[in-house]
Symmetry: C2
Subunit: 361 residues, 2 copies
């Protein structure tokens, strides 16, 4: 088992990574404020892992409330969030109850927001069961639900007390979702670690084959990078914005197609190619580096072009994005592999040409 | 104009109290991060004061988005909260937009929670227009909506950047609501200031007649007491619990009758009489002090007995209250006028007898 500490002062918490952590209630017990937990999962993950987790907790004489939500981004809304509140209130969960999120990013984001707002805030623990959630959405305290007019528009910053990333749960993950998670792993190399990017070029096949050593290392490095960034900038005013590499374009893709058509990581991969293309056109990124990025995404099983929405639609969708400040489009671009920067210097003409070059023809 | 500072370190904010503050955009401008504000009000307060506030803001070249909600505690729910989010998104409000709550406690609580969770947190300003909101719900950062199974069950701690208490707005407040606000004013005397309680005994008629000097002083003292308590204990683990004097019984009354039958302050007054009665039965409060409290509530136009729900129903409702920890009922009781304490020493027999003694026969 590998352990990282996310250093946030009074709200610091550990991330444990390893095989079989679902069956380690001893890691959970010291974090509880009462002998009652509510485990939130969904209809896909529940049948696979809920009982395994709950059995261990019950053996420790904990009272366990299970909440099973419908699966999918389409359900990341008020109605589903209310199912959690309904269960917590029906089962008389008090302020000292800890909520455990067992599932992917959607379960984590919704459970986190439920924990942030139930009785104005209760503790929660994340047990992410997808690669994407393990390397990204379980770290950093961002919680949210979607609104018909925008993704993740309603939420809170709420740090978990503990994250358990059980790599065994990836064995039941569809290949497409594994690839989507790899998009975020590759992102960390692109943002700030050229050495890790080169390591990924050598090990991408091992990762897709779920080779345990490679997987553990990739998750640890990704979490370390994100944890360092989050610790330095908890509320997203500066460095943390770098994590949004590919996301301005990516959100436009996800929204333009309707939530759930493309996976988040797929949107990020194609969006990152647009950001890289824009970086090249601004003279910031070399041809060869652009080609290396495209090759790695392709080998990871990810799209390297966006859907053909048309440039005007892309621009319109991006103007709705919450990373707009004072009406100006801010982008995260690359000044090389391992070196991302936030800028508002991109000319709209270049943005349009970059989108066009990376739209599916 | 009187000004108090709520000392919360990086989140400190001023409370201004005085006549005509609605028409003082100069107090608001320095607190804004962008030239756009969204003003949330309701169908009762809107026609009286919305245009007066907005006209001043527009003269300062601010873009102003107005959001008018249905009035009443019955609307303090998801559906109404979503009306705020719908408007913010439809009008492209960004993270730097400031939300202004113009209205009573319900508008303040909902707007505050909307501000806490819109894009994971934007700034907000409170302009409370009821006495209750001016002395209580606009101070302390508590925001929430109700759930069918309990009051204020979903919310956040989110501090305003500024509070403007315009005492002129009380001229349009129904007498019954003025009395309900006085219940909270009296509460501060009971909790920690015997001198203020005695001042209230001398000035209760002036307050009911909206005599400006008396009103200003009473609001300032109430806000000062609450601000001191909140500054010492922002997240309600210790001293802040004293503010809940009368609330455990009071919430039971409000829930038992169905939200909106009794005003919050009315529930608090009758609930405080039950707490005082229990204190007397435990030998903590003298007969004469109990009589003084009853007299002052009555002169303020408040109920001094609870509705006849029956003791078992009261106990059942209190067991659902969120101030239950580990299944034990905690109460705020009085060891004299001006001296409230939190205790779990009350015997259930005494609780039952106190309720019975203070139920309407």
């Amino acid at each position: 088992m590998r352990t990282l500490n996310v250093d946030l002062g009074a709200r610091a918490y550990p991330i444990h990574i390893g095989r079989g952590l679902l069956e380690r209630p001893d890691l959970i017990l010291p974090k509880l404020r009462a002998r009652k937990v509510a485990v939130v999962t969904n209809e896909t993950v529940g049948p696979l892992y809920l009982e395994r987790l709950c059995a261990g907790l019950r053996l420790e004489n904990l009272e366990v409330v299970g909440v099973v939500l419908p699966d999918g981004e389409a359900h990341k809304n008020w109605q589903t969030l209310n199912l959690i509140f309904d269960a917590l209130l029906r089962e008389h969960c008090e302020r000292a109850t800890t909520l455990i999120a067992l599932g992917g990013g959607v379960v984590g984001d919704m459970s986190g927001f439920a924990a942030a707002s139930y009785q104005r805030g209760i503790d929660y623990i994340q047990i992410p069961t997808t690669l994407l959630a393990q390397v990204d959405s379980s770290v950093g305290g961002k919680t949210a639900i979607n609104h018909p007019l925008g993704k993740n528009m309603i939420g809170a910053f709420h740090q978990p007390r503990l994250v358990l990333a059980d790599t065994e749960t990836l064995s039941t993950l569809p290949a497409r979702e594994l690839s989507a998670g790899l998009a975020e792993v590759i992102k960390y190399g692109l943002i700030r670690d050229a050495g890790f990017f080169a390591w990924l070029e050598r090990n991408i096949d091992a990762l897709r084959a779920l080779e345990p050593e490679a997987l553990g290392w990739a998750i640890e490095q990704s979490c370390r990078h994100k944890a360092e960034i989050v610790a330095a900038d908890e509320t997203e005013r500066g460095m943390r914005a770098l994590l949004n590499l590919g996301h301005t374009f990516g959100h436009a893709i996800e929204t333009g197609l309707g939530y759930g058509q493309w996976l988040h990581g797929e949107g990020v991969a194609a969006g990152t190619m647009m950001a890289a293309e824009l970086s090249r056109r601004m003279g910031w990124l070399g041809e060869e580096d652009l080609a290396r990025i495209e090759r790695l995404f392709a080998r990871a099983g990810l799209p390297v072009t966006g859907p053909a929405l048309g440039v005007p639609r892309y621009l319109e969708l991006m103007a709705h994005d919450k990373k707009v400040e004072a009406g100006k489009l801010r982008f995260v671009l690359l000044r090389g592999i391992g070196q991302a920067v936030v800028t508002d210097e991109a000319a709209m003409d270049d943005v349009a040409v970059a989108i066009e070059a990376r739209e599916k023809s």
